[in-house]
């Protein structure tokens, strides 16, 4: 499996996603700079977290105009799995690949903490490894994670089972007490109508190591690995320019 990780100016979780794919799964990952117009031969695409363009104007609002987003759009239209995490989720919403928007947390503050989310849909390419209703403990780290959408959109999301992750309390219930940022319907993550584009605010890539306290995010990446391996190349990859070298944008931890 080859995973493209799109780096925008200001992305800062790109390296963490890279490590999740390469170290947890032992699969190949490579960075795609936002000015590129090709995702090369990616089997899947991750839009990582961060502050693309400093979140100036609004999270994701400028990044959606980057050249690479046209390639992401085509990739998604062809059924390829796309995952947007945090700022990546904001970009997918701003680009119209997912419905709704993410606005300032109701606390009006940045919030970095561990929350509980319940897996509501285990049929997306990123959630098959979880049990329905499984409660995960994941990190959030955002100032604009408050999911909003108009009533018709919310109804559609609920009716079609497209809410993938929901914030819950210690009893596993989607109460107000369990809602860290004011998101409507306690929504933490959703999937598009076609079922291949998922966005979520929590950071699964930060919970893939026992040393760091939790493996609860590993299922997101393992699901993707299983999905790609099952499809065995049946999913359309973006193109077949296999000569392009991996990596190359100076995000190596120390190197």
């Amino acid at each position: 499996m080859r995973v493209a990780i799109v780096t925008f100016p200001g992305s800062n979780c790109d390296y963490d996603c890279y490590k999740a794919v390469t170290e947890l799964l032992g699969e190949e990952a490579f960075f795609v700079w936002h000015r590129e117009s090709s995702l090369r031969d990616a089997d899947a695409v991750i839009l990582p977290g961060g502050f693309s363009y400093g979140d100036y104007l609004r999270g994701g609002a400028i990044a959606r105009f980057s050249p690479v987003m046209e390639a992401v759009r085509e990739f998604a239209a062809g059924g390829g799995p796309v995952l947007g995490i945090c700022n990546g989720f904001q970009i997918l919403c701003e680009a119209g690949l997912l419905p709704g928007a993410l606005v300032r947390n109701r606390s009006l503050k940045f919030q970095g903490e561990v929350v509980r989310v319940r897996v509501e849909n285990t049929s997306t390419p990123f959630t098959t490894a979880y049990e329905p209703g499984q409660v995960l403990r994941l990190h959030i780290a955002h100032g604009q994670g408050n999911y909003v959408a108009d009533p018709a959109t919310l109804n559609a999301l609920e009716a079609e089972g497209r809410v993938v992750f929901r914030y819950v309390d210690a009893d596993g219930q989607p109460t107000d007490a369990g809602n860290p940022n004011g998101s409507l319907h306690n929504i933490a993550g959703i999937v598009n109508e076609a079922g291949n584009v998922v966005g979520l605010m929590p950071h699964p890539e930060r919970s893939v190591s026992r040393l760091l306290g939790s493996m609860d995010g590993a299922g997101v990446f393992r699901s993707l690995q299983a999905t790609i391996s099952r499809s065995n190349g049946a999913l359309p990859s973006s193109d077949h320019m296999r000569h392009v070298a991996a990596g190359g944008f100076g995000h190596g931890g120390v190197a």
């Binding site: 200001g10 100036y56 369990g178 860290p180 930060r206 760091l212």
Partner: protein, 762 residues
Amino acid sequence: MTTTVAPAPFPGDPPITPELVAEHGLTPEEYDLIVGAIGREPTYTELGVFSALWSEHCGYKNSRPLLRQLPTRAPWVLQGPGENAGVIDIGDGYAVAFKIESHNHPSAVEPYQGAATGVGGILRDVFTMGARPVAVLDSLRFGPLTSPRVRYLFAGVVKGIGDYGNCVGIPNIGGEVYFDEAYEGNPLVNAMAIGLMRTDQLIRGEASGPGNPIIAVGARTGRDGIHGATFASEELSEDTESRRPQVQVGDPFTEKLLLEASLELIRSGFIVGIQDMGAAGLASSSTEMAARAGTGVDIDTALVPTREPGMTPYEILLSETQERMLVVARAGHEDDVRRILEKWELEAAVIGRVTDDGMYRVRHGGQVVCEVPGEPLVNGCPTYVREAREADDVVLLRQWQPSAAELTDADATGSLLRLLGSPNIASRRWIYRQYDTTVRTSTVIGPGGDAGVLRVRGSRKGIAATVDCNGRYVYLEPRRGAMIAVAEAARNLVCVGARPRAVTDNLNFGNPLKPEVYYQLREAVLGIADACLAFDTPVVSGNVSLYNENPAGAIFPTPVIGMVGVLDDVERHVRMAFREPGDVVVLLGANTAELGGSEYLRLIHGKLAGEPPAIDLARERALQETVLELAAAGVLRSAHDCAEGGLAVCLAESAIADPERPLGVDVELRDDLPIPALLFGEAQGRIVVTCDAGHVPTILETARRHGVPASEIGRVGEPCGRFRIRTATGAVVEAQVADLAERYHSALPLAMDGDDAGFDND
């Protein structure tokens, strides 16, 4: 590139008068030294450049003779003081760069930008050494939170630190904050950054190689922050508000691009040196880089990209616009450098060349406006040894002895609850919840523990860091207080299992021209020196912030100690939270009768008085070795040191550190001491550890071998159980841990937001 034209005033320059010299913070004697150094009267531009480089902030004129007392060498020190940051070798081919820096004055005027730019500056100091920033810590001081102005400053500073570090993507892994009247008009904002690199990636801020191009990189230069370094070297006053334009504005997005571009430039081999344009901007960065390499520079300010037209060379040289770097490239590689910067969407302009004549020469277009020898500019700043005299009232305060009423406490449970709710002790989660603490996925222990711990990918090692200083102790007895600050930092590191390795210090003091303040400064530096020698922790970088005074007086002398330690096996880290019911609680160190300078005395009796706790550096070292040996052996379930609030608060914090699962504890103390001193006194050299019952003999034997007192004092209880401390006279503290946790976790949210919103969801 040499010139024979004498520098001339730039059109519009004011004439040099004694008043103008005084406004530049220079004494008549210092002005005479400048005239002597250059052999004539300086131009306005030259006066401005000298003023900045000879300010306290850049020139250390009142502290340099004292700083020479600090130990700075050890086999593992790769770079000591004098560079952008200190660097130590941690083994396995890795090195750690780190430094602490203050942004006190700007934060007093504009808390959000003042604090944000403080983080930006310290990150640049680390990545210009070739290291990737991997963590930030913050050390803060404010007045009491009952003041609306203080709440505004505190909220703004925390948001500024958070927004900047979060955006650049550097985790905050620890910090400290104290609230006291002494800081009411002078908040302290010290930020520490830690960077990681391969040892062969170390680069220095040197302008070597005559003929090499000097390149300005990053943000365009504006009129912001002109003379910030000079501003930082004065007392605050009523008209400080008018200094707001001297506070710079931060842009973390550009910083992130600068970070990536700088590391790529350093790895490319196309450059020979790189430095942040920080305090005193282009003037200090260019002169310091030349001085380190023993070269000169020839710069044309007309080539510097500016934000607005019509900026004078004086303004361009002294601007402190943020997110700018000065790069010296290898001649012939200008286009290679430009290509890398273009990828990161950064502007770059060749603004001059390195020369071999040792002169600091600046022209604007065709006209030379500054031509002075670089050596006296950078190293000629006169240094002063001032009169030192201890303040009489402090001597009197130390003579305090507890009254009979102060030696008893009929409601020790109530006192414990009050201490846990004191802003100086309560949970700091309200602060660090606004920080990203886990980005870069290497945070093993984040804020809230004794020290932050990071893993080092590609190695078994871990890095630990902490910042510490109890200014109250330093006020009462500067030398001992400073030793305690170092000892506390070292204890915090060993509590997580890390061997203390090196120190960065931030000396926050008042006006050194006052003998009482200079006494504090001198004694504190000597205390740091003694303790750092005893612990084998050389000082490899630091910052001096003086003139932290306003009309109401000076701050507590606050020499903040940032300390870095190394874990050989990061899997063997230790946390402060009790782990399992039935675990045995062991106290390492001895309980002694200490109440002086304690939080208990201040909070319960409203007194700041007494001798700070006694400190024995050899005993501290023995305690450190004991805990390190036990941590490495993997026998510790938890470790936490006794600090503010004493043994009772230490036990409570371990019981409630995990808000999801507070554990009870049952402790019996047999010492024959007054209850307040036994429970809440701040005797040094104590660490409370827990272990499985089977490991108690190992702990006692190890402690005995190191000559450290050790006693089994109790057992960890059930989740949400009872917290009980008994003494020879019966049960004196008894409470539900849930109630202790509630008080501890809700205090800051209540003080800041008037509710405890968000604290039920942890």
